[in-house]
């Protein structure tokens, strides 16, 4: 009888004893999970993602929790939508349904800002290779520079699933830090005179037919040039087509709300579930975070420099600050540009132009990833 009681009690103490015997990485990650929850709840940093990721991280690091073992809840979420890339693609349908590409369509040339804003991806690729990461892992790390969480998750889950946790956490963390990272770079690369340039008000010039045809055209052109990225382009454009067609309001609303909310919860928990201490706490995690920072900073640098070039070519009609919005992080990057513009000229409202560049950045980030995947396919590497 006494033996049975002692055996029963030992079952209640194994979790605690595991934490103190070889459980230091789990203890550290419990603190990391707590920090993510703090940032989400108290500081309002990307709460929709950091709260489920943080809680998933806490759950998986409770010793003997078995949540990421076969049949465990987090493992089920992971296999249901991360391992097969379904969750990031569903998030893309939602993003497409939420995004108004109107400001971009008013001035299509602004789409090129979305290309310049992806430059950091390619420099980071070289950096990752220099640090000794294998080629496919380097590609997955570089895509943090797309400043686009679902794209980063899509590429990492396919080609470097072992790095999914640090890549996705880095991608979303830096997106949230865009208002802190971008302004010093924008100020350093522009003169006060350039920052004060007032741009002409955007006039409404886009017909409903153009708005409806736009997602189809992007899907076809992008898909023909970079077919490996068609799932990314196709889903975001599906969402936008539903929005602009106006005939499937229920599906559009479901994409914007129910689907986006449910998938975000499951995706966040599944990513948090990959943050188990013994696998997450490695020097390469720190390297990935550092490279993510470099990637997003270089995106901003390239965007602003491209903005300066466009400013010269247009005879000073384009404010180079809007180049910074060419990175994807939508709509934060556009808001940062608007704030900086107003700082130097109280009547300088750059928001519509910046929103155009920012939606161009959304397309640019997806296209850049699609091009990379198609080049990899062309090289026979995937």
């Amino acid at each position: 009888m006494l033996d049975a009681i002692l055996a029963g009690l030992s079952g209640l103490s194994t979790g605690v004893s595991s934490l103190f015997t070889g459980g230091l990485p789990n203890a550290i990650m419990l603190a990391v999970g707590g920090t993510l929850l703090y940032l989400g709840v108290k500081k309002n940093v990307e709460p929709l993602l950091l709260v489920p990721i943080g809680f998933g991280c806490v759950l998986v690091n409770v010793p003997l929790s078995e949540l990421m073992d076969k049949g465990g809840l987090l493992k089920v979420f992971y296999e249901m939508g991360v391992a097969n890339e379904v969750f990031p693609l569903l998030i893309f349908v939602a993003i497409g349904a939420m995004t108004d590409f109107g400001p971009l369509l008013e001035n299509p040339k602004i789409l090129l800002f979305g290309a310049a804003g992806q430059f950091g991806i390619f420099v980071t690729l070289l950096l990752a290779l220099a640090l000794g990461f294998p080629q496919l892992e380097a590609v997955a790390i570089a895509v943090i520079g797309a400043c686009d969480g679902p794209t980063a998750i899509y590429v990492a889950s396919q080609y470097a699933p072992q790095l999914l946790a640090p890549i996705s956490v880095a991608a979303y963390s830096y997106m949230a830090l865009v208002p802190i990272i971008m302004p010093p770079i924008m100020r350093a690369l522009t003169t006060e005179k350039e920052r004060m340039i007032r741009m002409e008000t955007v006039k409404r010039s886009v017909s409903r037919q153009t708005k409806i045809l736009f997602p189809i055209v992007v899907t076809l052109v992008g898909g023909l040039i970079a077919p490996k990225g068609l799932p990314l382009l196709g889903t975001i454009m599906l969402g936008n087509f539903m929005r602009e067609s106006g005939v499937v309001a229920r599906l559009t609303k479901a994409s914007e709300n129910e689907i986006a909310n449910v998938v975000t919860l499951f995706l966040g928990l599944a990513i948090g579930g990959t943050m188990e201490g013994h696998t997450f706490l490695k020097p390469q995690t720190l390297a990935i975070f550092a490279m993510g920072f470099v990637a997003i900073s270089l995106d901003t640098v390239a965007g602003v420099l491209f903005g300066k070039l466009m400013c010269k070519l247009s005879g000073g009609k384009i404010n180079p600050l809007i180049g910074a919005a060419g990175i994807s992080a939508y709509p934060m990057a556009a808001r940062v540009v608007q704030t900086q513009g107003l700082k130097y000229n109280k009547k300088n409202h750059l928001l519509m132009h910046a929103a155009g560049a920012n939606t161009g950045g959304q397309i640019g980030s997806v296209v850049a990833a699609a091009v990379m995947l198609s080049v990899l396919k062309g090289m026979g590497m995937i």
Binding site: P108, L112, F122, L129, Q135, R208, A226, V371
Partner: protein, 49 residues
Amino acid sequence: MDKWTFGFTMMIVGVGGTFLTLWILSLVIGVMKRIFPLVAEDSNPENKS
């Protein structure tokens, strides 16, 4: 293929491919705007669904 050949190929083709794709898209959007210009009814909010 060594890592630097890989890296620089990805960089050149990647940056070029991204710019090319977006440039083509910007041209196509321009053509669409010419084919389907905004007419007065489009700009009247009462006619919007």
